[in-house]
Amino acid sequence: MLKPLAPDDWNYTKAAHLLNRAGFGGPPSDIQKLADLGLEQAVSRLLDYEKISDPAKNPDWAKPNPDEVRKYRETVRTGTPVEKKQAQREQRQLYQRRMTELRGWWLQRMAAGPRPFQEKMVLFWHGHFATSVDKVKNPYYMWRQNELFRRLATGNWRQLLLDAGKDPAMLVWLDQAQSRRQHANENFAREVMELFTLGQGNYTEKDVTEAARALTGWSLDPKTEQYIYRPRFHDDTDKTIFGQTGNFDGDDFIGMIMARPQSARFITAKIWNYFAGQMPSEELNTQLAAAFRANGNNFKPFLRVLFRSQEFYGDDIIRNQVKSPVQWLVSSVRMLENQLPPPLVSWGMLRQLGQDLFAPPNVKGWDGGITWISTNTLLTRYNDAQSLVEGTLPPLTAGDYAKQPGNAGGKRQMRAMKALKRVRLGGMNVEKVLTPGERDDKGTIVAALEMRLFQTSLNADQEQTLREFLEAKTKLTDADIITATRLMMSTPEFQVT
């Protein structure tokens, strides 16, 4: 079993680590609170989020819209070509607006909501069951899946698989909605084993084709925008999966996956990687899987064991994870006690940094780790840091518009640029970040900012560079402190947590 961390070993550094990984970090005061609570209470504060009320409202379109759907389908079917084209354009624009709103809604929950750990899990499941609006199209489906991940964020593994598999977004994303007994579509059957539960090498090609037959019947009713079981689509004959033969259906198949020990190994390794920042050793993975199974394949008690383990607080774990773009953005805002940029701007930043929420690159999700970092994304992070602290527009958002086909220098670009110029970001408020006492001395400014941004010190050369930068200013303004903060965010050290 995992070794529990001794209560006496709990301290500020470990509290910061917990808040960074099980949440999206926070200002020194938040870390201090967790440190004061002690290990057990601190973990509970994050994990037992059901005790904290969540007043956030859902977007008003976040419900089935059968009337809207019917009207659209009718126009497309029976309207004149002009009407049809217009309806399609209007729907595209409507969907774009809703997706922008949805992205902002979710980011806001992460940055300012009362349940950061729950949102951290939603982000994990989004990367795990990586589903993209590029194919799903319907924002209601995307919201619904996101809400499903929230509802079952730390629930039961089997329940989550069944519910996620039968949710409209997944039914569209991996073509299960269109699968027929005459010719079963293998897309979901394959990915559920390869990417969601077992991993390469733990099933055969034959298992894929047979499981695809078992899954037939899981379908989507586009009229009601709900899951529907269609007996006529279902292949009601024997299948042989994992060497067992029977007239299985989709639920049976999911149950058969669950019965395989590999399904616990696979998901616990991935969860460990997400929170600890590296894949577990074989030995550790065995311990993780055992802890998961001992808790009935329920995530909450398993994660409680994980966050209270010595292993999670190892020297090779702390400050050795590359921040994902979402982590980078949300934790920067939280550490600086700042506002998120407006949804359109946040979205532009995340897309440029390689993590376009609701549009992962493929069903495998984001590779993560050091693949977040390329020469391109690193410079983009450095430049976006400037936007965050100064409250200016990120250069890349504007550049993005220029790259749209046929847009360069055109009217649409000019309009977009103008609209973007009106956008104001919060910018950093120096008074919130430094006490008057700290602000008085250039040495304490650097130290206070270091603790806030890194929860540790930079190396001596870097500290000296920063002090020299401040020393060179005859009269130190807020703008200089803001630039110094941006410089600290423009370091390799700021990209890890």
């Binding site: 894949m279 069903v363 693949t371 020469t375 870097q462 920063l466 423009s490 390799p492």
Partner: protein, 440 residues
């Protein structure tokens, strides 16, 4: 007998030459048929010097998602083909005929023009033993040139850099995009990534800020990097391996240095060169447009990497493949037009690949599921053009689990590109000696 005498004579000859003084008795006989070939080999075994003006260049073009090769290079006269694809099969008048049996997808006019000009080779039935139908695993196999049952942590282009480009500038490899492809993963990572040169820089509000940025990013790493970067190797995390020692921040520090040092050069070149050809307004079009600029401006790059996505056509394949292949052919044609206008056509080779082809039989949704072998395209001025290899049989009894069988191992194409185009030994890079396909 005669052979032995020849070898003797050659050795005698070598011993009396400058070259021979270094190599004499240790040269394996099979390496050289003639003295000039031997000399070329010897020169290539040394580190490759990269200049932006005369070295050969490889452009790797990834068609991500698993392109349906059977509807790309179409066996339009084959009954099995039409029987397997009643809905999505292309009729003889919907293809651009290459001969009495095979034609290119009708959207690929640009490729047909290149073919007619002797600048396109179509390698048929490319794959590898024990094909894997997972996008991710199969992509990994193509990117790392590994056997299907082995996991290789570094990419084949990365190993080319490791083996043949030590000491070269980091711009020896350029990816247009956001993320470094697995093919570039290396013991000593090289290669830069960017998509918009204007923004490929640190934006500073004054000289003092700029100077401080440089100092903050030039400093000593937290622990010195071992030479082979065995710690934070880029290959480790995505391959799902534990990170053993070494810290993530060291990898980022190295990337920060590469970014700082390449930023100015890339921007200067991109601003200097103008494209003459008109490209389709697609991502691929924009990427190749940028590559043409960098080649025209003389960036010292040996390998460029661009990609086009969207080929995972499980449903309604006809319309999406039409659009994708049209974009591909038109973008590449524009690219070659640019290169010709620059006078660089002879220096550049474009090689396409996709992680797999698709099932012979169409599915019930007007699409195709994951398959195995597929064609590769090579575009250039100095290679063997035309139809190469043999079209795999579509007869049901010749299929394996519904897929065509490969005739050409993709690594024999890589071997040819490495040996005959990039002029380096392929065995150390590919792990063993593959017989180079006589294409380049």
């Amino acid at each position: 007998m005669k052979n032995e005498i020849t070898l003797q004579t050659r050795r005698e000859f070598l011993r009396r030459t400058v070259l021979g003084s270094a190599l004499s008795w240790t040269v394996p006989a099979f390496l050289a048929d003639t003295f000039s070939a031997l000399q070329a080999q010897a020169a290539d075994s040394a580190i490759q010097t990269t200049t932006g003006k005369d070295a050969t260049i490889l452009v790797v073009l990834q068609m991500a998602g698993g392109n349906d090769g059977i509807n790309t290079v179409v066996p339009y006269a084959n009954d099995f083909y039409h029987k397997a694809r009643p809905k999505i099969g292309l009729k003889p008048d919907e293809v651009l005929k290459l001969n009495g049996e095979i034609g290119l997808h009708g959207a690929m006019k640009g490729f047909k023009e290149l073919y007619d000009a002797g600048q396109l080779s179509v390698i048929q039935g490319v794959g590898y033993p024990n094909p894997n139908r997972s996008h991710f695993r199969s992509t990994e196999i193509w990117q790392t040139a590994s056997d299907s049952n082995k996991v290789e942590k570094n990419g084949w282009i990365g190993r080319y850099f490791d083996n043949a480009c030590a000491g070269a500038d980091t711009t020896v490899g350029v990816t247009i995009g956001n993320q470094l492809p697995e093919a570039f993963f290396a013991a000593k990572p090289k290669g830069i990534v960017f998509n918009n040169p204007q923004n490929y820089r640190f934006m500073a509000n004054g000289n003092a800020t700029e100077e401080s940025y440089k100092k903050l990013n030039e400093l000593e790493m937290s622990s010195p990097l071992p030479d082979d970067n065995s710690g934070g190797s880029i290959a480790m995390l995505p391959a799902g391996m534990p990170m053993t020692g070494g810290r993530a921040v060291d990898f980022i520090t190295r990337t920060a240095l590469d970014a700082q040092h390449s930023s100015e050069e890339v921007r200067a070149i991109a601003a200097k060169v103008r494209n003459i050809a008109v490209y389709p307004p697609s991502q691929l079009g924009n990427s190749l447009k940028m590559v043409a600029k960098l080649i025209g401006g003389g960036l010292a790059t040996r390998v460029y990497y661009v990609s086009q996505g969207g080929y995972d056509t499980h449903t309604n394949q006809v319309a999406s493949q039409q659009r994708l292949l049209g974009d591909l052919a038109e973008s590449v044609k524009s690219f070659t037009d640019d290169l010709k206008a620059q006078g660089n056509m002879g220096r550049v080779l474009v090689m396409t690949f996709s992680e797999f082809g698709r099932r012979v039989t169409e599915n019930a949704n007007g699409g195709t599921d994951h398959g195995a072998a597929a064609p590769m395209f090579i575009v250039g001025d100095k290679m063997k053009s035309g139809l190469l290899g043999k079209y795999p049989s579509l007869a049901p009894q010749d299929l394996y689990q519904g897929d065509i069988k490969y005739n050409v191992d993709f690594r024999s194409v890589y071997a040819s590109v490495l040996e005959n185009w990039l002029k380096t030994k392929s065995a150390p890079i590919l792990g063993k000696q593959f017989t180079p396909l006589p294409v380049v």
